[in-house]
Symmetry: C2
Subunit: 414 residues, 2 copies
């Protein structure tokens, strides 16, 4: 029986003949060598070689998008689909990445290369656990039966000590928030040690939960070395916490996979550093391809930026990213995760976000969109929730604001 | 006492006023928020804020190098040095990366951003082990007292089974090679299982070592999930192997750090995927900054490409990369590692490589440059070594070839 195959769709720009460039890439990333070798038999190539499944010329470029490639007066842009036999590397995410995203971006035949789509055989679903909680588990822990989890981020990002952090958390939980997260810059620095912060914050959250019957979910940033992450996770668990946050790019696939197998809590995956992998349109990863890795490795929540954000990603990229994380990965193992919307979010993006995603299974975090409310945090959270009610019911926001003073006043400052 | 600081030098291109852009970056990556907050006091900013140490305008760009930034008719390129107090995050590589290489590449104020240089306080030398073997340990294990380790890579990259791999290794060790490595594409795929490969290969290497008293170093690619890497490392150790290879980008910092703390063998660090981080001149990492992370985490050997390589990096970039890994990191903890030169290498690059690095403490791997010799592998290795002798002694290569038939014939095909 022939090996199942991994399929990858690339955007490629080349100064070479596109067919030859495709062959060089396929060869470099499988059985090929620059010098013909006796050992590279036709049987070996047929069994182990990467295969060009399709090559579609899109357009001619004005010049090379990235420097360093071969000299050429003709640069062609194409879509290239390659496939690899799983027999080459097995169902291993690191070995997969070395194959599909290894030494190919530096080839002289390449003046632009971007991974657009990644499709994996069932063996990966068998080898990796995927998210343990996802949306259903998150809703159960946070006590939010429907609609988005309305959240925020501790600010300033760094600089508060544990006591000051807990004070901010007190305002937030009393204001009715569903979800809070550490900033990705806040981990276990000497000025705000992790254990003290968790103890102080969870005292506030637990006390509030006892009064109200609902425990606000706080994503504590456990990012660090593996033993540290495990110990921090355990500390959060012991103190009644319900979520941990991991910055996936700085931790890496192996660390993420290892903490997933240890964790008893949902993992909030932060994508800090994503710009390095994606900001050049001629290089790197598209989000829909990249997110496959982290869902398999076990993320429960995954950051997707937000519509009309303060960063450089346009809305259609954000919408496509958000939809990608709720699209099933495998027929019998969907491994869908919770998209986290953030960056300059207010109730004004609720309707478009709801329509772009097609549901309200999400977390949205806002800073100014909540704190900026003239009547305080509670009114800010209420207004946010009301804006989402309007979005989900298809009611015009201004109309919905009538008779709802929190939303009414929010519309003035959003 | 004030906190020690981390310093980072960036290349920045911005459509904004450079000073304002620098302030946004510094704020975003420390105590700043887009909305002024009550909690962001002057004391907090002074203690926890990133500081602009210098900002030097270099030139005006013709336009934005990367899309997605703010609309502007003026894009300025500068060098920006920022510093952060260690108190924000402590001596943690993942938390450092989230801070200096996190959510800043996506800022609208940025139309280009690249990390050029990274300087860390002593606390990192105390928190991380660095390389356990380096050049001295590698020389001792490989039995190569001076000059480079002459090496090669198993080819075809994938497709050989364990028995065929061992056959190739037999030719190589009998040919007098010092160092062999798995291709980064070869790990533990079903077609060439790791354990069988190691057993078959080490039988050959051990037998040869018993005859000759010198054990050829083979870097087995253990890249995988953490438990797999540990088990593979142990298997190599049990079978008398002397080196393991890890693809650092696909494994990530936390996985690398964890395997370093487990390993009793030198770690050969492969940089597959480096092109994603570096191929755009307007984005990502320079090698001299990036390599700091992996030396601290514990790499013993680190790939630096090769002069006149088949990839897109020009020689000056390769030379700078190679020199960077042998420059001491800390006065009392130099953590220097072995640069690994590869890609289209022959004896012809020996002289320039020696001069660029300033010493012969290195590994060089060649494929065609050895296998292509008309008199076979042994003559190929001999010729390579003779070319390096000439380079180290400052003798002209053609002159040195007189009376040395292996080198003489090699000059014809190199």
């Amino acid at each position: 029986m022939s090996s199942p195959r991994v399929h990858v769709r690339y955007w490629l720009e080349t100064g070479d003949d596109p067919q030859r460039a495709a062959e060089v890439i396929a060869g470099e990333q499988s059985s090929g060598t620059f010098l013909k070798l006796a050992g590279e038999t036709p049987e070996l190539k047929a069994r182990s070689g990467a295969r060009i499944e399709s090559l579609t010329v899109l357009e001619q470029a004005a010049g090379a998008s990235l420097p360093g490639g071969m000299a050429s007066d003709r640069h062609t842009r194409c879509e290239l689909v390659l496939s690899w036999p799983l027999d080459n590397f097995g169902a291993s995410l690191p070995n997969l990445v070395d194959t599909i995203a290894g030494n190919l971006f530096e080839l002289r035949q390449v003046s632009g290369l971007r991974i657009l789509e990644l499709s994996l055989p069932q063996a990966f679903a068998d080898a990796y656990p995927g998210p343990a909680f996802g949306m259903a588990g998150t809703r159960a822990l946070a006590g939010v039966a429907q609609g988005p989890l309305i959240g925020t981020i501790i600010k300033p990002s760094v600089g508060l000590n544990p006591r000051e952090t807990a004070e901010q958390v007190r305002q937030l939980v009393e204001g009715g928030i569903d979800f809070i997260k550490d900033d990705e810059l806040q981990a276990d620095g000497p000025h705000c040690p992790f254990r003290e912060r968790v103890s102080a914050v969870m005292a506030v959250i637990n006390e509030h939960a006892q009064k109200t019957g609902r425990k606000v979910m706080m994503a504590f940033n456990i990012t660090g070395e593996l033993d540290q992450m495990k110990a921090r996770h355990d500390w959060v668990l012991q103190h009644g916490g319900t979520c941990v946050m991991v910055c996936v790019n700085s931790v890496g696939l192996v660390g993420m996979s290892a903490i997933r197998r240890h964790s008893q809590l949902p993992i909030h995956a932060h994508r800090a550093g994503w710009g390095i992998l994606s900001r050049s349109p001629w290089l790197g990863w598209s989000f829909p391809a990249w997110q496959v890795l982290w869902r398999l490795a076990g993320a429960d929540h995954l950051h997707v930026n937000g519509l009309r954000n303060k960063f450089s990603e346009p809305d259609e990229v954000v919408a496509e990213a958000a939809r990608s994380v709720i699209k099933p990965l495998f027929a019998e193992a969907p491994m869908t995760v919770v998209p986290v919307f953030s960056s300059a979010q207010t109730g004004l993006q609720a309707r478009d976000t709801f329509q772009a995603l097609g549901c309200a299974d999400l977390i949205v975090t806002a800073g100014g969109g909540i704190f900026g409310h003239p009547d305080g945090v509670s009114a800010g959270v209420t207004a946010f929730r009301q804006a989402w009610d309007a979005a989900m019911q298809g009611i015009d926001l201004k109309q919905h604001a009538q008779g709802r003073p929190a939303l009414q006043r929010a519309l003035d400052f959003w």
